[in-house]
Amino acid sequence: MPPVAVWMDGLLLSSIYILIASGLVLVFSIMGIVNFAHGQLYMLGAFLIYYMFARAGINYFVSLIITAVAIGLLGIAIERGLLRPLAPNGLLPPVVVTLGLIFLFEGIATLFFGPAKKAVPSAVPGVSSIGALTVSNEKLVVVAIAVAVMIGLYFLVSHTRMGLAMRASAQDPYTASLYGVRRGRTLSQTMFIGCALAGIAASLMAPLYFVDPWIGLTPLIMALLAIVIGGLGSVLGAVVGGALLGFSGTFLIYYLGPWSELTAFLIVIAVLLLRPEGIFGRPRA
């Protein structure tokens, strides 16, 4: 058994993967689009936190909320301005557009924020003791917020009128429109929530890691892997996939050091060999 501190780090990493993956999977399951620029939205969110919290000295939690809303609004702009006009043209345009946005956002970040790594100070300093274990408050807050956000997301999607309309519209937009659901509004809501999740993940992670224009790639890849492991289109799958990658990642760093990066892919290959549809996916008929 790895030491408890390693479990804690696994929990931390899992929280972040889960937040990013669930935003991505929400957008995919409702809109049928993989937003490849999701990681760059995360990156922009991290810069927002840097400038608001680390530089301007705005309260961390206020900065977090502003970041989530700002990245959510950026998501709406992407959906309205780029994805929706291209919607009638098939599956490829959204792929090209969101891949293109990766370079656009990384370019903008490099140009305006500079390529240097930036550090965000700890938002919640100090440590707490839980029994024999000492954990930094920062990490506890990250996990607590991640759990709260995921519970909130679950409630929103499965127990509210808006969530019901989102799911109905994803399954059959024509029929949903007959009962008064406006597809456009549903798409905007979905994109807002999905991208806001990336903003929240960025806000939580920025004080723990550094910020630069290229931090979006790894979270995107990990989130995509989590989604594939968990089963495409299932938020629960993204949660389990994210946890699997987060814990196995930290455990393997502990035991194997640098070789651990490979293992994420080995896990994916193993899952796909045993269950091609993913853990929570449905076999295709």
Binding site: R161, L164, A165, R167, A168, Q171, D172, Y174, T175, A176, S177, L178, Y179, G180, V181, R182
Partner: protein, 234 residues
């Protein structure tokens, strides 16, 4: 209540509906019969605002509605129960019903409507937590009509409810439509099953090739020689 004036519908160059006029009175039960591809579904889609007619007008309670968005039309009390039922497959029966009441703000009204639907279709009450896709064809049709009723409609547009159902189940669904109509909800029914349609409705239209070729009370229509030959097999 509902008035269609010289409605034309084009899909690209092809004219699917060729200038038809049609009327449904308050509390009326009207059927449109005709073969597959005659344009019956297009007419309903025009009324519910899913497609825009290339020409003509739609009036509902002295208000022109043919350029309104579907949700605006639904909010005015015209509810479309689509062909093939189109139950939301991954939503539960209860969630499907809730989707019907999406625009309904009054919670007590929703509760009352739900009571009425469970009274009308008791089988739905036993299935509230099941996914829509797990229901049989007949149950799905009942759910589709129930979902429509949840919106508290003044006029129900029902498209091919008998499609793929056994005669016995069709009979059951037909009886429920009569009950719904007797409670004051006007129905515009579109059916290939002319025998059933003419038995249920008060008035009928015959649509072939996008044109209305006959109209009248159903009592007159069932006596018509052409209809007896072409649609009733007599």
């Amino acid at each position: 209540m509902l008035l269609l004036k010289s409605i034309r519908v084009h899909y690209n160059k092809r004219e699917a509906v060729k200038g038809i006029s049609l009327e449904v009175g308050e509390g009326d039960f009207v059927v449109v019969i005709g073969p597959n591809g005659a344009g019956k579904t297009s007419v309903l889609n025009v009324i519910s605002g899913v497609i825009n007619p290339s020409e003509g007008e739609v009036w509902f309670r002295s208000e022109r509605i043919d350029r309104l968005a579907p949700e605006k039309i639904a909010a005015r009390g015209i509810i479309h129960v689509p062909e093939g039922r189109r139950i939301f497959p991954k939503l539960t029966v209860m969630e499907n019903l809730q989707m019907g009441a999406y625009l309904q703000k009054d919670k007590t009204k929703v509760e009352r409507e739900l009571e009425r639907i469970f009274h009308l279709f008791p089988i739905l009450k036993e299935r509230t937590r099941q996914r829509g896709e797990s229901l049989s064809g007949g149950e799905q049709q009942m759910l589709a009509i129930g979902r429509g009723l949840m919106a508290g409609p003044a006029l129900l547009l029902i498209d091919e409810p008998s499609l793929g159902l056994s005669p016995l189940v069709t009979q059951h669904v037909a009886e429920q439509m009569t009950v719904i109509n007797r409670e004051g909800i006007a129905i515009l029914l579109v059916e290939q099953n002319a025998r059933m349609g003419l038995k249920l409705a008060n008035r009928g239209y015959v649509l072939t090739n996008g044109d209305l070729v006959l109209e009248g009370t159903t009592a007159e229509l069932v006596k018509n020689e052409e209809i007896r030959k072409a649609y009733l097999g007599l």
